[in-house]
């Protein structure tokens, strides 16, 4: 008999796409509060907020994912992530359009991330899962936020070279 292992993922929405990150990385979900802008910082850094006395940096996930800036809605919220980046435990907030649900994903059902035709650099996607007829991209969330690169979007030249290959 085959043993079924499953993992919990938190799904969230950016534009029309669904993404998921392991629940182990998410320490809490906050409503959007006043974010203090840090001038002259990279555009995807929204600023800082007060998380019970600690100053928490907040990243605009839309901008990091190469989507354009949209006005915040009532559903916009901040995922507080507790990530190990370069051996250091770092807390940061990630602004997402909305949080969907916690999903139990059967590890056997995870499909490999497509290397062709995806908008995102494949290194940041650990796999894909089909749920209610929609594909959810499972993220290497620590890589997404530790990268020096301004966005995790595929360069168009890269995409061309892939499609020509």
């Amino acid at each position: 008999m085959e043993t079924v292992t499953s993992q919990s993922y938190l799904t969230f929405r950016l534009d029309d796409e669904l993404f998921a990150t392991s629940v182990a990385d998410v320490s809490e979900i906050l409503e959007l509060s006043k974010i203090t802008k840090v001038p002259r910082a990279p555009h995807f850094m929204r600023g800082v907020i007060n998380l019970r006395g600690t100053v928490l940096p907040v990243v605009d996930t839309r901008l990091k994912f190469g989507l354009e800036k949209t006005p915040d809605t009532v559903n916009t919220c901040i995922l507080v992530l507790d990530l190990a980046i370069d051996g250091q435990q770092i807390m940061l907030g990630a602004v997402v359009d909305s949080v969907q649900e916690v999903l139990e994903v059967d590890t056997a059902s995870i499909q490999a991330a497509p290397s062709i035709g995806s908008r995102y650099k494949s290194g940041f996607i650990s796999g894909m899962v089909k749920h209610h007829d929609q594909f959810i991209m499972l993220l290497h969330i620590d890589l997404v936020f530790s990268t020096e690169e301004l966005s995790i979007l595929q360069n168009t030249s890269d995409q061309e070279s892939i499609s020509h290959a």
Partner: protein, 674 residues
């Protein structure tokens, strides 16, 4: 066990620090009995706990030194330079091996051996009755068949004698006549009087493999070296060869009478025991303190900071609702939290005293090395600073002291030729002023020639040949990168770390450093430091929709100006009080898409003595900002030294004015137009 060893290391390091301090005191005043007592006691404690926690090598070494100091304190040995030198070397060595217990580092092992020899060499010639010595009585009667079992009693005797000095009395009374003597049997017994530093157990250890073939008795008969007592040795001498053994009771009787006869030694001993001054130790014990890990303190400070922030929120709330009870409560809370904050911050303050030993040590060692005579004194050492500042200020001060000794103070001959006292002086003064602590290093050396600095700066292209500089500006050139006054690079101060690094390190903890000097009279270096890094006295300002804190220390004056008079540029010059002030429009620099107010505030701040204006939307008031780090995501934003949480729970960024203005100048190259 690891945990216990950790405790031991922490305690030992403290002990070593105080030991070093006392040693340096003793170096200055060799007649000071209390110092010797303190040194002796520290070593004794160190030795004791070292062996208790399994630091055997450390324990052995300190034991030997302790012996030397025991001799010194009882007046039987003089504290020579050599002794102090070896002691200080040992202290340094102990500092190292305390973290390298097994002496994995070959350098440590080599030094360990060398120090053993050096310490032994100290006492080797002069001491006849080193204490720590004891006399043991060993009676060994090998069984007749001992030789058949492969044991040679003579080897045992040799081992025994190697432990110290000994007198061995063989007993031939059982040896039969030659005709009936069986050559394979042993008839001889031994009585050994051994004077040794070893313990009873160690002496007994010699016989550990011979227990089943010898009758052995080991007794400690005295805590002194009886072999040095004539009355005792004479009694042994008169015993005829081949007589029967003394036996323990006879020996004990002999010891008692011998010691009574040798009165001078015994009185000397009792005198020492009674005169050992305990009061100093007792006085010290009155200061009760507990050891708390700095993590716990940091946690406490974080909590207090949070409380202060919540309290600000409460005050805000009370102001909004007109409820008398709430207002009272808020006011009370404010008083209590302010006191709590002051209290908590004072816990983290450490007196500068803790640094002085290291400085004294450096001055002592370096002046010896360079053949200079320097008297180092420290004033105001009780002045307190935040522990994190103390940690960060040590290296810069050490570096400046090195410079001072190497370049500032002249050689004794040179000083005499100039009519100065042979001994140069370096004074360190620490004092409070306002919210700052000042540390001054004052020497009476040859001083720094401002003209030489100027020429050098011109030669190095740091300033233009016709630049007009004030005296202070000239001396500040020393702190510019790429400037070094040392004409020849010595291995002492010319090791590539310039004064610019010193300045940068001090600025990193929000301090300032400046130099004043008179040729042939000396140099004064002044360091200004904030009392604490965790709270900044700031001015709260608003730019567009965000609030910022400017450290009050940098703020000079505020002007109001109609916004339409400002050009929409990052930098421009505006006339205030009859002088043109370069003004940076922070709204343009930080935000560009918000509606502008009619009136703009221009805050005049100091940047390296030259005034700069910063245009902001509004000045809100004063604010005591509890500093929070911005975290690694913003580590490149150097113009903000951190953030603070305002009463309403929102975050305000704290500007580092120096770095901000430097960046703006670099961006606009305004300095050239200036």
């Amino acid at each position: 066990m690891d945990h216990l060893q950790g405790i031991f290391i922490a305690e030992a390091e403290e002990l070593i620090a105080s030991l070093e301090e006392t040693l340096l005191q003793f170096d200055k005043d060799r007649t000071n009995k209390t110092s010797v007592e303190t040194i002796f006691r520290s070593m004794h404690t160190l030795k004791g706990s070292a062996s208790m926690f399994g630091f055997e090598s450390l324990s052995a070494l300190t034991h030997e030194l302790e012996t030397v100091y025991d001799l010194i304190r009882t007046g039987r040995f003089a504290a020579t330079n050599e002794v102090l030198e070896v002691t200080l070397e040992t202290v340094d060595h102990v500092k190292k091996i305390i973290r390298d217990q097994g002496m994995q580092d070959p350098a440590n092992r080599a030094r360990h051996e060398a120090l053993h020899k050096a310490i032994a060499g100290l006492t080797g010639e002069q001491t006849h009755t080193p204490t720590g010595m004891a006399t043991f009585y060993v009676h060994c009667k090998p069984h007749a068949d001992v030789l058949l079992k492969g044991t040679n009693p003579l080897y045992l005797m040799e081992d025994l004698v190697s432990l110290g000095t000994a007198r061995v009395l063989p007993h031939m009374d059982e040896v039969p006549k030659l005709g009936i003597l069986e050559p394979t049997l042993c008839y001889t017994g031994f009585e050994v009087f051994l004077a040794s530093k070893n313990t009873l157990a160690e002496v007994e250890g010699v016989f550990i493999f011979a227990e089943d073939c010898c009758e052995v008795m080991v007794e400690k008969i005295s805590d002194t070296d009886l072999l040095q007592v004539p009355a005792f040795t004479q009694a042994l001498d008169i015993k005829p060869f081949g007589a029967s053994p003394f036996g323990l009771p006879a020996i004990q009787h002999l010891v008692a009478t011998a010691l009574r006869a040798d009165t001078p030694l015994t009185t000397a001993h009792t005198a020492v025991d009674t005169t050992a001054p305990i009061p100093s130790a007792a006085a010290k014990n009155h200061v009760t303190s507990i050891r708390v890990s700095s993590d716990k303190l940091d946690e406490l400070l974080n909590l207090v900071s949070e409380l202060v922030t919540s309290q600000a929120g409460l005050t805000l709330l009370a102001g909004r609702h007109n409820i008398p009870d709430l207002a009272n409560l808020a006011e009370n809370m404010e008083k209590i939290s302010r006191r709590l904050r002051e209290n908590a911050f004072s816990i983290c303050l450490i007196p500068i005293d803790t640094l002085v030993t290291r400085f004294q040590r450096l001055v002592r060692d370096l002046s010896k090395e360079l053949g200079k005579e320097i008297n180092f004194s420290a004033e105001g050492v009780e002045t307190e600073l935040d522990k994190s500042i103390i940690e960060n200020i040590t290296d810069p001060i050490l570096h400046m002291l090195r410079n001072c000794i190497d370049h500032g103070i002249e050689s004794p001959a040179e000083r005499e030729a100039k009519g100065k006292p042979r001994q140069g002086s370096i004074r360190m003064k620490a004092f409070h002023s306002g919210t700052s602590v000042y540390i001054q290093i004052v020497d009476d050396g040859k001083g720094i020639d401002a003209e030489k600095i100027r020429q050098k700066a011109i030669a190095k292209g740091l300033i233009a040949a016709d630049a007009v500089l004030s005296e202070k500006e000239t001396y500040d050139l020393i702190f510019k990168p790429g400037f070094s006054t040392a004409e020849q690079v010595t291995d002492v101060s010319g090791r590539g770390v310039g004064m610019d690094i010193v300045k940068r390190n001090i600025e990193a903890i929000h301090g300032e450093v400046s130099i004043a000097s008179r040729v042939q009279e000396g140099t004064t270096i002044t360091i200004r430091l904030p009392l604490t890094l965790s709270i900044v006295d700031g001015m709260r300002v608003r730019i567009a929709s965000s609030e910022y804190i400017l450290p009050l220390t940098a703020v000079d004056k505020c002007y109001e100006i109609e916004t339409r008079k400002l050009r929409q540029e990052h930098a421009q010059k505006i006339e205030f009080d009859g002088a043109l002030l370069p003004v940076f429009n922070l709204r343009e620099v930080f935000h560009d898409d918000e509606p502008k107010p009619d009136i703009t505030q221009v805050i005049k701040v100091h940047f390296d003595e030259f005034p700069v204006g910063l245009a902001v939307d509004a000045v809100i008031g004063e604010y005591q900002a509890v500093m929070k780090p911005l975290g690694s995501f913003y580590e490149n934003r150097e113009e903000f030294s951190g953030a603070t949480i305002l009463g309403d729970g929102s975050v305000a960024l704290v500007m580092d004015i120096h770095k901000l203005v430097r960046q703006l100048i670099d961006e606009n190259r305004l300095l050239h137009q200036h």
